[in-house]
Amino acid sequence: MDDKLNVKMKIMIVDDEVDLEPMIRQKFRKQIRDGVYDFVFAHNGLEALAKLIEQPEIRLILSDINMPEMDGLTLLSKLKELKSPWLKTVIVSAYGDMENIRTAMNRGAFDFLTKPISFDDLEITINKTIEEITMIWKSMQEHDQLISIQQDLQTAREIQQAILPKTFPPFPNRNEFSIFASMTPAKEVGGDFFDFFLIDKDRLGFVIGDVSGKGVSAAIFMAVSRTLIRATGIKGISTEECMSYVNKLLCSESVSCMFVTVFYGILSTSTGEIEYVNAGHNPPYVLSGNSINRVDMTGGIILGCIDDFNYSSKKLKLNPGDSLFLFTDGVTEAINRNDEMYGEESLIAFLKEYSSHPIEEVVKESNLSVTRFSDGTPQSDDITLLAVRYHGLL
């Protein structure tokens, strides 16, 4: 975008009468001295085009019609080909020459003046045209800013997707467990996240979270939450210590009460035992053959609300073949055309059918099940799924 417009806007007068230049300079000497107007003169259409290339800050052209080499009407046609939204031409014609005036207007002239030129009228016309050009320029600039914001959002989406694990299987050398996850944001960027990391040889940390609200603010809070949990969890402290610590940090960061629901668990890869804290997140399900059981709550409040809250943990045990299925409310609250929610019942029914399928399929098919249910109704919340299966020591 040419932002020189505000600084300097040149006006080009195209006329084969050489007397015109001193006359204009004399009439508008004050405005020229004050830097309000800056004039350029050309004596035919060809010269005008050449000057336009030399001096792209020319925004307004006042052109005569009858000139040697290239006349004003031909010049208009050439200017039209440039398709510059903020280059405006005012045509100057003989009084009563309606035919040429019509032709000029049809070729894209912005306005016309008639000879003999009244300098008052000329000044009004120049000012009016400059106003129009400025308005177009401003709206073009706003349009460009909008495009740039959209590009920023796209970049934010890429960054957000990039900080989530995306290589599956993530630990190809580990046979005691398998893990799969996906996050589908509703807008360009989302507030959901998942993560997992090996704390040591025997312990796998895994987490799912949902930040209040959506869009850029949620995405930033999500990135902070995810990073804090990973950095704290990977030290190997208990889930309750980790959540209490991260909560304290998020409370000090939390602007206007943003918060995040989190389920954080640590799986012992040698025993199948999971120690976990549920900080206000939808309770996950344990899949054990045909039985689908909700994981007990731990009484934890969502992170980022009460800074001295003490989180407590619970334990559960996965037997070889069992899985833990975690999700965000974007799954159960997905709606269809009749405004009905997917709901826990549909999810449980789905899990009953798929609980023995490979973990990757459970996640992918679950996504498809929600998509089929929504049947084209736009997704209103991020949809995130994470599933861990314990295979036992082989």
């Binding site: 507030g191 949902d210 930040v211 209040s212 609200g213 959506k214 206007s256 009460c257 943003m258 918060f259 629901t261 900080a279 206000g280 997140h281 939808n282 309770p283 709550m297 009484g299 934890g300 409040i301 969502i302 609300c305 009460i306 409310d329 609250e333 209103s380 919340d381």
Partner: protein, 109 residues
């Protein structure tokens, strides 16, 4: 979402009906903050007709609760539908909000 505010001598009665989600949470926050800025220190929120609340909606409730605590006021909720009560239980909100079975109890509480 439908919000009805009635200022009574002892308390401000708020009735919310429908869904509180991303699309209307900001408006609700503004309405409630204006009531508090207008001097109300006791809000009774009747949730009989509230059938859905998203995380953005919960955030508004949290903002109001924190504000009320800071001015030593009361923010009493009543008649939560089972689905909404469950969301409060899961999120841990039940432990930081004053929930009442009915309006009469909320007015006294």
């Amino acid at each position: 979402m439908n919000v009805k505010i009635t200022t009574l001598p002892d308390y401000t009665l708020l009735i919310i009906e429908g869904r509180v989600d991303t699309t209307n949470a900001a408006g609700l926050e503004k309405t409630m903050m204006e009531a508090i800025d207008g001097g109300c220190t006791r809000i009774v929120l009747d949730c009989t007709g509230l059938n859905y609340i998203s995380s953005s909606g919960l955030r508004v409730f949290l903002v109001i609760q924190k504000k009320m605590i800071s001015i030593k006021g009361h923010f009493n909720l009543c008649n939560l539908q089972p689905g909404i009560k469950e969301i409060f239980d899961i999120s841990g909100f039940s432990s930081i909000f004053s929930l009442f079975a009915d309006k009469e109890a909320a007015i006294i509480g």
